[in-house]
Subunit: 496 residues, 2 copies
């Protein structure tokens, strides 16, 4: 086989893998947004089948041969990235038996509804056996993948953020936590801005969210916005990107933040170039980079004073109420030692992640079992955030990730916040007119900057290289800490 | 391999095939109900992949070996039906190259939006090349499947209604058409009931449809009711059955009839026993039998006077208007030589089918090309129904079937009407209290009768045997003609 033939074959196989991934995305979206309750039974089988088929195609020895031929050929950047990315997936998957992949999909499909019910009933005990199974099968998978003395947790991290290691994260959290502590201590002594009190109709909030997402650049020709219990985004294809949100009658701003967050994810997916799609270079570069897009739009843009200037008349239009811009800005940026990650402000958010990172590390070092988690969670919150939930609904059961078998995903949020801080700092250096544009609702130049610097790069390079090419060599922890002080220090009248 | 091992393997493979079929159903539902416009590009690839995977699994020689072992073993009825049904699929599919299956799926995925656009623009020319491709690939497929001197059209029929042949259909239409002509001639001279004039809000109609479907027995725990341009039903699993409808602001009764029709399909799918699901005996027995369920609920029940008695207060509740029961009954049963099949009354409906059957026969005998169809359609309508559409939107472009590559599906509607007439006649003999129950909105006994006589039989036998076991040996043409005279003759004051 010539390299040209090998590339043609890789394209063909990658098209099939991409189609299967799109189908898995669609099926999971449907499961959370559309599926009737009794559909769960067959859904597990369907997801298991797709995962198994995907796995079979990845580990097909003929694909390894193709990659072998190409690895010794002269390649253009798209080909080189494709061979590198797919090579990693193959190397990782080849060590996992197909039976284990299918079993995992079935376990996850059953765990999701069990978790949703357990959370609703505040009944950890009913979810515990599922969590045990999820941890056990994850450990079993790690044992297959692991080839050297690497930390078990590193094996998990590699799936979400290739190149990030426990050593990096320990260093990052080690620097970040005391800095966040200083900021919180300074704010603790000051009376913060007031919360918005009220109740707003679900239908008018929906119209508001729809218009905001569109204004930021989300295309409904290439996507949808729906309701789900837990907001998420799936990219079925660049022309079919689905974001979801959850509307809270009494949480006007928190619901909207959720939509803006998912819009950030959706814009990334809609921005993947069509000619890269269905090559192994045509996905997002990492989950951390994905979260940088969602967190950038949610926080840097969506909680800025300039955004509140633009938002106030839009709120008037949709919910019929006058809001003072500074009151909106304050309410968007209340800092609070709180219980729930998804509602957490920027200043405390990474502490919520630090708690989860620490617990996950201890689960996979064998120090904690599933049964220990409710109490360990309380203890970690008391220690890290100074608050603690009596129940598990607002404690260990609050997040969907573990129910989906996603262990080691949480650090991606903090990586995202770090990348977003550096990208935001660079963007402002290059385009000091940013805030004037945001006040006028002109988001297109910001999106264009992200499109060309991030989205259009797809997975041609790994995330750290893409961020460095976009923002230069920067200290992300320093950028994040400075950003947080500049916004939250100023709002609370304190400085370092 | 022992027969027991072979059966276990057949079960496992059938579970995968069923999961793939459920996924194809989900993907097609999504395409018509949820997918954003730009999703079409990748969707073709996804459907093609699923069809190809399904085909590969069906034609796997190991499956033929399993069937071979079982065909010589002692089998219980479920096993015997499974071997027969899957054996047919395998025999048929084994002769079609995988490449052709995938190509067909891609052509169909591209044809659907092209047809929808052409219909909206009344622009047959833009759809013609797609129709040519669809006919060509269907002929190519027939050439692979055909093993003897059978009529090409018989090969197509076998996929929808195993056992029905051109000879049967020619005989059936040959007897039915003059009888329908006599009924129409008698009615032509009489002034019929008035149409309902008015406009009703889409939202209140939706609530009405939702309640009617539920009252008939449709379970929203195991299904959904959504809007789509063209109403349809997919059974993703017995616990996940999705029906769609289309609401017309000025067509209160025609929209509702559509929902009741799809509810009939949905009740059948929800009634397939769970223990049969994912065996090859666990589907519907034929499309004709499927249509018997939809047409029975739509017409026999849904256009009865008793149903109108129950419906009137429900209309009052949802659309806020008082209706006279006899006016409702009359408007539900207006007989008219009309242009559009889906809006056609029971008395003329099978003539619309006869037109399509005749045209399809002439397409596959080579007498008509795609380009000839608009004019041939007009001529056939003039001749058969005495009316003719100037444009193609209300002519040859009106139905979705051909755009989906479904040639030879239409006769299933008439088979459905025939089966429904005999089932209805038998049901009334066994349960003369039927109309009193319907007046009170008690549909459960009727559904129970269909459940045990039809739905629970799944595909343990072929449709004609199931109908015969339920209704006895009957002349379906005679039953249908008598039923039509008894309702429509009486309403118009004419008799045979």
């Amino acid at each position: 086989m010539t390299p040209t033939q090998a590339w043609d074959q890789l394209r063909e196989r990658s098209t099939e893998l991409t189609a299967l991934e799109g189908l898995m995305g669609l099926v999971e979206w449907d499961q959370q947004v559309m599926m009737p309750r009794a559909g769960a039974l067959a859904r597990g089988e369907q997801l298991s089948l797709l995962s198994g088929l995907h796995h079979d195609k990845v580990v097909d020895p003929a694909l390894s041969d193709i990659l072998g031929i190409l690895s010794e050929a002269d390649l253009d950047p798209i080909q080189a990235a494709s061979v590198r990315n797919l090579g990693r997936t193959v190397a990782r998957s080849a060590r996992v038996p197909s039976e284990l992949v299918r079993r995992g999909a079935r376990i996850r499909a059953a765990s999701f509804p069990a978790w949703a019910k357990a959370k609703g009933d505040d009944d950890f005990a009913s979810f515990q056996p599922h969590l045990e199974e999820l941890v056990a099968i994850t450990k079993e998978t790690i044992a297959h993948i692991k080839t050297d003395q690497a930390d078990d947790y590193d094996v998990l991290l590699e799936a979400f953020d290739p190149g990030s290691t426990v050593a990096d994260l320990d260093d990052m959290f080690g620097r970040l936590k005391p800095e966040l502590g200083k900021l919180l201590d300074a704010i603790d002594g000051v009376e913060g801005p007031a919360r918005l009190e009220g109740s707003w109709s679900v239908e008018s909030q929906k119209r508001l969210h729809h218009e905001v997402a569109q204004a930021l650049g989300f295309s409904y020709e290439q996507g949808r916005l729906d309701d789900s219990e837990h907001p998420f985004t799936v990219g079925i294809a660049p022309g079919d990107v689905r974001i979801t949100t959850h509307i809270y009658p009494e949480g006007l701003l928190s619901g909207l933040s959720g939509t803006i967050h998912e819009t950030g994810h959706g814009l990334y997916e809609q921005g993947i170039p069509l000619d890269l799609h269905s090559t192994p270079a045509g996905g997002a570069a990492s989950f951390g980079l994905h979260e940088s897009q969602s967190r950038f739009w949610e926080n840097t843009i969506g909680r800025s004073r300039a955004f509140c200037v633009w938002l106030a008349p839009l709120l008037k239009k949709h919910v019929g109420q006058d809001f003072d811009v500074d009151a909106l800005y304050g309410a968007s940026n209340r800092v609070e030692r709180s219980l729930i990650r998804v509602f957490a402000d920027e200043a405390t958010y990474n502490l919520h992640i630090a708690v989860r990172y620490d617990l996950e590390r201890r689960i996979f070092s064998g120090e904690l079992s599933a049964a220990d988690l409710p109490e360990a969670w309380r203890e970690a919150y008391r220690e890290t955030l100074g608050v603690c939930s009596e129940d598990d609904e607002h404690g260990v059961l609050q997040d969907v990730h573990w129910a989906g078998g996603m262990f080691a995903y949480f650090p991606s949020y903090t990586l995202g916040n770090l990348y977003a801080a550096s990208l935001g700092a660079k963007l402002l250096e290059e385009r000091p007119q940013l805030w004037e544009e945001v006040e006028r609702g002109e988001f297109a130049p910001t999106l264009a900057w992200l499109r060309s610097n991030i989205h259009h790069k797809a997975h041609l390079q790994d995330a750290p290289a893409i961020v460095e090419a976009a923002a230069g060599e920067r200290d992300h922890v320093k950028d994040l800490v400075e950003y947080l002080w500049s916004r939250h220090g100023a709002l609370h009248g304190v400085s370092r």
